[in-house]
């Protein structure tokens, strides 16, 4: 493996680790369910793709690269879908986001939607 590719791969791994840490910090500290879903979902796709791309650069034969690409493709489909399903289930169960005065001022839609 060439040195430049090694350096790019290490930089991707470092950026992915940083994004994972920020996502975990947002998940621990954000005030309501929807912002926590936002923190997890946004960092999850970019950090996953950065780390898997770095591993693709580290591998030398073709078959692990194909497997990593399949994992990446599936995670890019499944992670936003899971976030959307989670937010929709929370909304349907009556959880509401807060406005900037920390009040739940958003009107509830009628029950027969």
């Amino acid at each position: 493996m060439s040195t430049a590719l090694h350096l790019i791969s290490d930089a991707f791994l470092l950026a992915g680790s940083f994004l994972l840490l920020t996502g975990a910090l947002g998940f621990l500290r954000f005030p309501d369910v929807f912002s926590r879903i936002h923190a997890c979902g946004v960092t999850e796709t970019l950090a996953t793709s950065l780390i898997l791309l770095a591993l693709i650069m580290k591998s030398e034969s073709a078959m692990p690269q194909v497997k990593l690409l399949m994992i990446l493709l599936f995670l890019m489909f499944s992670s936003p879908t899971a976030g959307h399903a989670l937010a929709k289930a929370a909304w349907n169960a009556g959880v509401r986001p807060r406005d900037n005065r920390n009040e739940r001022g958003i009107p509830v839609p009628p029950d027969n939607l």
């Binding site: 791969s9 290490d10 791994l13 470092l14 992915g16 680790s17 994972l20 840490l21 996502g23 975990a24 998940f27 621990l28 369910v33 926590r36 879903i37 997890c40 999850e44 950090a47 996953t48 780390i51 898997l52 591993l55 580290k58 591998s59 034969s61 078959m63 692990p64 497997k67 990593l68 399949m70 994992i71 599936f74 995670l75 499944s78 992670s79 879908t81 899971a82 976030g83 399903a85 989670l86 289930a89 929370a90 349907n92 169960a93 959880v95 029950d111």
Partner: protein
Amino acid sequence: MLTVTVVTILVVMVAGLGRAFSAHNVFDRVLAANLFGTKTVLLIAAISYLFGSADFLDIALVYALINYISVIGVLRVTEWQLAGRREGRQ
């Protein structure tokens, strides 16, 4: 650098697990389980390269599929419970 990534993933998994145990509602728990499953996939892939062989990638792929199906299944159960509560109210 792979070691740094593996340690970071482990720290994030511990944080998500602690949040899942101390959460107040079911959606935080499902979100933590989803985070934990995705990080499991990443951890298996990274450990596979840390140990120098790419043999664990099939297991990582299977974990990605299991994670997605489990999240959708738990959310279906939540919606069923909600529908049952609505029928009980009417």
